[in-house]
């Protein structure tokens, strides 16, 4: 009798997906394994299989089902699920009510404002002493400023809002500190929604209310938009800049041709694919994927980080190539749940990279690359602290 192996979802080398994921893709691309907590799960590691699974609504995102791999005890029958925790048709209607805010052309209007925010942060860095922690000075503030302006957080509340969202994503926050920050933010957003009911502004929350969303339903939407777009984008900013400062030849490629910035953003997204655990679903019926039968009630993880290194789709997948412009990567997922804010993340990354390269030509790592504290135990890969100088 064979035993089901337990696999790790932890990265040990910054530029490689978790070693167990690499091994599985080579040896057993569709395998049933145990998560570190002992529960059994199917893991998919091939690009084609992950896409097929994420497209197929027989694989459910509804976390209220106790069999779902992301189910939590507090998600009872009365639990109000967030956008990422529901299936069609409930999910389709809610997503369509929001996605008009995140279209490519709508977001393009944010470009000058985001540029201003990035310039202000860089002005502040250049005016102060070096070395400085880039995570605190740039990676975390930019997405926080952007999302708070999108949601319509009044300027006077920025400090409170940023402090609590920073605590939420800070690596050394204690569980208690985290709970306090989340509670504060949820209460804050509920209050903010009430404020928008009384005094509508030119912001997402006010527009949702005007479109008929109830304040009770809007709170969780606001909270999801806040947390989904904050730490993830910050992680990518830090990883992108650390990589360019470590691999100077890649930095030079971008300096020589700034038009490659869009290609660099796309490639860095593919290369890092920071969601370590991947995309989690529950099979609602027996489904065959890649010739393997997955049975009703079984949990499935689509491991996007290794699927994005699938050599049958990406030639030389471990090579970081800014001219590749492979848009078919899975860094934002695939299927009906593909990241709502992906084009906002792209825009922020593009502006940050282009501006840092232009305005900080002597930027360098202030610690050896090997000593950078990477996030090795979180759901998303990233960097806890990135000391830089210029």
């Amino acid at each position: 009798m064979t035993t089901t192996p337990t696999i790790s979802f932890t990265r040990t080398e910054p530029y490689r997906p978790p070693a167990d994921h690499v091994r599985l893709q080579a040896e057993a691309p569709i395998a049933q394994v145990r998560r570190p907590d002992g529960r059994k799960v199917w893991v998919l590691t091939r690009h084609e299989d992950v896409r097929a699974m994420l497209m197929d609504t027989r694989f459910s995102s509804d976390r209220r089902d106790p069999r779902h791999p992301s189910h939590q005890p507090y998600m009872g029958p009365d639990y109000k699920p967030g956008l990422i925790e529901m299936d069609p048709p409930e999910h389709t209607a809610l997503r369509r009510s929001l996605i008009g805010e995140f279209t490519v052309s709508r977001l393009a209007r944010w470009r000058p404002r985001i540029q201003e925010m990035v310039d202000d942060s860089i002005d502040a860095m250049l005016a102060g002493p070096a070395p400085v922690d880039l995570v605190e000075a740039l990676s975390l503030p930019i997405p926080s400023l952007v999302i708070s302006e999108l949601l319509g957080v009044p300027y006077a509340d920025h400090d409170f809002f940023q402090r609590n969202s920073a605590t939420f994503s800070r690596f050394d926050a204690t569980p208690d500190e985290r709970v306090v920050a989340v509670t504060n933010l949820k209460a804050y957003i509920a209050d903010l929604v009430q404020q928008k009911v009384k005094e509508p502004g030119n912001d997402l929350l006010s527009r949702q209310l005007a479109a008929g969303v109830t304040p009770e339903d809007l709170g969780p939407i606001g909270f999801l938009l806040l947390i989904a777009g904050h730490e993830t984008t910050a992680n990518m900013i830090s990883l992108a800049i650390a990589t360019l400062l470590d691999r100077r030849e890649k930095l030079q490629v971008l300096r020589d041709d700034p038009n490659l910035t869009i290609g660099a953003v796309e490639e860095l997204l593919r290369y890092f694919t920071i969601a370590e655990v991947g995309h989690q679903r529950l099979a609602l019926t027996d489904v065959e994927i890649g010739g393997v039968l997955i049975r009703e009630g079984e949990a499935v993880f689509g491991l996007a980080n290794i699927a994005n290194r699938d050599a049958t789709v990406f030639a030389d997948p471990d090579e970081l190539d800014f001219t590749r412009l492979a848009r078919n990567h899975l860094a934002f997922g695939f299927g009906p749940h593909q990241c709502l804010g992906q084009n906002l993340a792209r825009l922020e990354l593009e502006i940050v990279l282009a501006t840092v390269l232009r305005r900080m030509p002597t930027l360098r790592l202030a610690v050896p690359f090997e000593e950078i504290p990477f996030k090795e135990n979180g759901p998303n890969y990233g960097i806890n602290e990135l000391k830089v100088a210029w």
Binding site: G100, T103, V104, R327, N328, G335, Q338, N343
Partner: protein, 69 residues
């Protein structure tokens, strides 16, 4: 023979990937974010190549190409 882009708006998830691939051929509705075909018949070779890429990257598998028999 001319090729035509077909969009199934019921399958569209509004991710905007097609717009990134070819902003001259695709747009999104401001209301629901769903795809709008602004140039359903690609002309030159690179327009067809971009249309094919849009079909490949579409996360809702909402796009396809048809060519007349």
């Amino acid at each position: 023979m001319s090729v035509r882009i077909v969009a199934d708006r019921d399958r569209c998830v509004g991710a905007g990937q097609c717009v990134l691939v070819d902003p001259d051929a695709f747009d999104q509705s401001d209301e629901d974010g769903l795809v709008i075909l602004t140039r359903p018949t690609p002309g030159a070779g690179d327009e067809i190549a971009r249309a094919r890429e849009a079909v490949t990257v579409c996360p809702g598998r909402a796009l396809s190409l048809t060519s007349p028999e």
